[in-house]
């Protein structure tokens, strides 16, 4: 028994180091950029990077939960866009910032609820289901906004996202709060345990008494609400809201989650991974700009990095199960 357990311990240690790959590469990129660019390590630049990542982190923390529960949510973009529109409409109508934010979160939650019902109870594949609900809500967005850009007349509303405390924007602080909430939810609560169980082995979870459908539904609901919050903040940031059928936000969020190392097959992942995934991609883009790299080349590199990240993840995973 003793020689066997010895090798087992060694193997575990090596794999644990590999598990933190995203941390090492993010730190390495940070050091590299600090040395090659004078601008990178300035407070202004870093504050900017933080602020730019805020909305992505809010939606990404929640999407991490949905991915761990074994599902995809493409409708994050639709929730985000609709929430911005609803927020803008409410601000212009009532002048109440609180009602506006609540309205944004509520429309996102409504999208999430619909997704959850369709995926958990009707049992439609989540990728297809959320693609379909995306189109539905893109349409709703055009109807709500009467196909035009909505401008928020109350300029003070921008303070909600752009106002600063301790030198950092409110949007950043809100993102920090959301990250912490989802982190704790996933790592410290019964709900979090059930999310891991539902995504890791749904049948085993059911046989252990987990209400798998309820867990999946709640994950979608939370992701919709978080995407809604992100949308409301974007309305505050730009003082505009515009209908569109653009999927780019959800793909940026997914990129952060997946590069961070949360498994697309469910049951594995962490909010801190998404934080690193977001900062890794943000540093990368920031570095491209600071070094004035051609945007076309940027795309080539960005795509390659995603492939490498997922391939590395697959590779460590297959070695672990071997």
């Amino acid at each position: 028994m003793s020689p066997g357990s010895g090798t087992a311990v060694r193997r575990v240690r090596r794999l644990r180091a590999a598990d933190f790959g995203i941390v090492w590469v993010t730190v390495a990129l940070f050091v590299l950029l600090s040395r090659t660019s004078d601008v990178f390590l300035t407070a202004a630049n870093l504050r900017n990077v933080l602020d730019q990542q805020a909305l992505l982190l809010i939606a990404g923390s929640a999407l991490t939960l949905t991915l761990i529960s074994g599902h995809f949510d493409i409708s994050v973009s639709a929730s985000h866009i609709n929430a911005a529109i609803v927020t803008a409409l409410i601000v212009n109508e009532s002048g109440s910032a609180v009602a506006a934010i609540a309205g944004g979160v509520a429309i996102g939650a409504a999208v999430g609820l619909l997704n959850g019902v369709v995926v958990a109870w009707v049992r439609i594949n989540s990728f297809i289901a959320t693609l379909a609900t995306s189109f539905v809500f893109y349409g709703v967005g055009f109807l709500l906004s009467e196909r035009s850009i909505i401008r928020i007349s109350d300029r003070d509303f921008s303070q909600l996202a752009r106002g600063r405390s301790a030198g950092v924007t409110n949007a950043t602080w809100i993102a920090v709060a959301v990250v912490v909430v989802f982190w704790v939810l996933l790592e410290r609560t019964r709900f979090g345990r059930h999310v891991f169980a539902a995504g890791g082995n749904p049948e085993a979870a059911r046989l252990a008494g987990v209400r798998v459908e309820g867990i999946v539904l709640t994950s979608f609901l939370l992701t919709g609400a978080a995407a809604g919050l992100a949308g409301a903040l974007s309305a505050s940031k730009t003082l505009t809201a515009q209908p569109s059928d653009d999927f780019s936000f959800v793909f940026a969020v997914l990129t952060a989650v997946i590069v961070g190392g949360t498994s697309i097959s469910g049951g594995e992942g962490a909010v801190w991974r998404t934080v690193f995934g977001a900062f890794f991609t943000a540093f990368m883009l920031n570095g491209f700009n600071l070094h004035q790299i051609d945007p076309i080349i940027q795309r080539l590199i960005q795509g390659s990095v995603i492939l490498v990240a997922v391939a590395a993840d697959n590779w460590t995973r297959s070695r672990r199960s071997a």
Partner: protein, 505 residues
């Protein structure tokens, strides 16, 4: 009764010599010699786990032996893959068919061996017609395979083997999923193959079928060949005796006497689930271990799953501790004090990427959470430690990742999962499958101590020693029905097997 004069001569087609195969700590085949004559139907029989499927899979290149030689037409050879075996004319029709359901019969038959003209697939209708004429196996060429009945799909699988010029086809439990009429039709197909010079290795535990179809029979038990010879020399009784042999004493804890009359914990009346089992009446008392024996597919696991609420019964009623019990979900069953260790720990039991602690406490998190839903990990650790110690988890801790544990420790963890609670009724389906000998004893000890603490324990097992060694009472199922009850202390292997096989001998 194998009465047809074998088309095959005494010429040997394929031969295993001294073949040994191990899976982890268990020896599936132990220095086995089997010789299969060309153009005959040769049956491998034995109880579950005797090694008959393993021997078939080695012939077909699905498994490679750890030791020993394989001779094809007298020349030594080795198959590194099913593909390599197929190149030499040997293939297997597995229990789980491997067809492409959305394609036609003809596409499936020629899948991978389409004759091409440039990049285009040539119409294979002529080839198909030739094949059907040559072997006398009919099938509608344009039918969608996914819509066919299992028996028809099996024909497609056989045609596929023949299209590849297979000279020897290994069939693993070919009738396990067929109705009796379909099974008779399959037997005719198998005989006609042999008459046309194809050798068939027929792995089965249906003895009547074997006697009706086979020219030769090899009896396996515990990975060894008991005997090999003409089917005409065997009958049901001789086969059963050969399969069962004398009882091999495994290490079992001493059976504790029950404190009778103990209260009935579970009572089922007329329990049925359409398509799985029918009209099952059973009782399990506090402190009692009841084993549910029978062949694979006889409905035992399905009964357990219904009791646990994993599937819904379609008829019948149950009581738990005298109160009506109608489990609508495993969640309700657990709340009512029922626990189940499922048949497949990988598919239905484990969260492989999570720690032992999380796996063990999963059904009981309610006991460790604060009002806000936070898990108090301190109390959780204490309980997980206690439960894993109680089941004798060795060489791993509650912090270990489940996937990195041995099969035995994984299984013990699943037992520990239920010891965090206080179940009244403990259900275990194949509790020692894929577990090494040492861990087996540990699991038996756990089951016996659970009963000693007053739990009612119901165990499904395909291992006869386990059925006999653990049980106060043995219930035997066959074809979805309970067919007999035996006293655990007095029953013999032969009695259990006769009930399981339906011996009219």
């Amino acid at each position: 009764m194998g009465g047809i004069v074998p088309a095959g001569s005494s010429q040997t087609h394929v031969e295993l010599r001294g073949v040994t195969k191990r899976f982890g700590g268990t020896v599936a085949l132990d220095s086995v010699d089997i010789s299969v004559r060309a153009g005959t139907v040769h049956a491998f029989v034995g109880e579950n786990g005797a090694g008959k499927s393993t021997a078939g899979k080695i012939l077909a290149g699905v498994l490679t032996p750890d030791a020993g030689r394989l001779l094809l037409h007298g020349a030594e050879t080795a198959f590194r893959s099913p593909r390599a075996a197929l190149d030499r004319g040997i293939t297997m029709v597995a229990q789980e068919l491997s067809l492409v359901p959305s394609r036609s019969v003809i596409d499936n038959v020629f899948l991978g061996i389409e004759s091409r003209r440039g990049p285009f697939v040539r119409a294979a209708a002529d080839r198909f017609a030739e094949l059907v004429a040559e072997y006398g196996i009919g099938a509608e060429p344009d039918a969608n395979v996914g819509r066919l009945a299992v028996a028809e799909q099996q024909k497609v699988e056989i045609l596929r083997a023949l299209a590849r010029r297979a000279e020897l086809i290994v069939m693993d439990e070919p009738t396990a999923r067929l109705t009796s009429e379909q099974a008779v039709a399959l037997r005719r197909t198998v005989r006609s193959l042999a008459e046309r010079g194809v050798t068939v290795v027929y792995v089965s535990h249906f003895l009547d079928e074997v006697l009706a179809v086979a020219d030769d029979v090899t009896i396996l038990r515990d990975g060894r060949v008991i005997r090999s010879g003409p089917a005409a020399d065997e009958n049901r009784r001789t086969l059963i005796e050969g399969i069962v042999g004398r009882a091999i004493e495994a290490a079992f804890p001493t059976r504790r006497p029950r404190d009778l009359p103990a209260p009935v914990v579970l009572r089922a009346r007329g329990l049925s689930r359409a398509g799985s089992f029918e009209d099952v009446d059973l009782e399990v008392r506090a402190g009692e271990i009841v084993t549910l024996a029978g062949l694979v597919g006889s409905g035992r696991s399905e009964v357990l799953r219904c009791i646990f609420g994993a599937d819904r019964a379609t008829a019948g009623s149950m009581t738990l501790d005298g109160r009506p019990y109608e489990p609508r979900s495993p969640r309700r069953a657990i709340r009512d004090g029922v626990a189940m260790v499922p048949e497949s720990r990988k598919a239905h039991g484990l969260l492989p990427r999570r720690s032992v602690r999380e796996n063990v406490t999963l059904p009981h998190l309610g006991r460790f959470v604060t009002a806000g839903g936070f898990v108090r990990t301190g109390g959780e650790r204490v309980e997980a430690d206690r439960a894993t110690t109680a089941v004798g988890l060795t060489g791993a801790t509650i912090a270990s990742v489940m996937a990195e544990l041995s099969g035995g420790n994984q299984q013990k963890s699943l037992f520990a999962r239920w010891l965090v609670g206080r179940p009244r009724l403990f259900l275990a389906d194949e509790p020692t499958r894929g577990v090494d000998v040492g861990a087996k004893r540990g699991i038996y000890d756990v089951l016996v101590s659970l009963a000693a603490e007053g739990m009612a324990v119901l165990v499904v097992s395909s291992e006869l020693e386990e059925v006999l060694g653990l049980a106060h009472r043995i219930l035997v199922m066959r074809g979805g029905r309970l067919v007999g009850e035996l006293d655990g202390a007095a029953a013999t292997r032969t009695e259990v097997m006769e009930l399981a096989f339906g011996a009219a001998a």
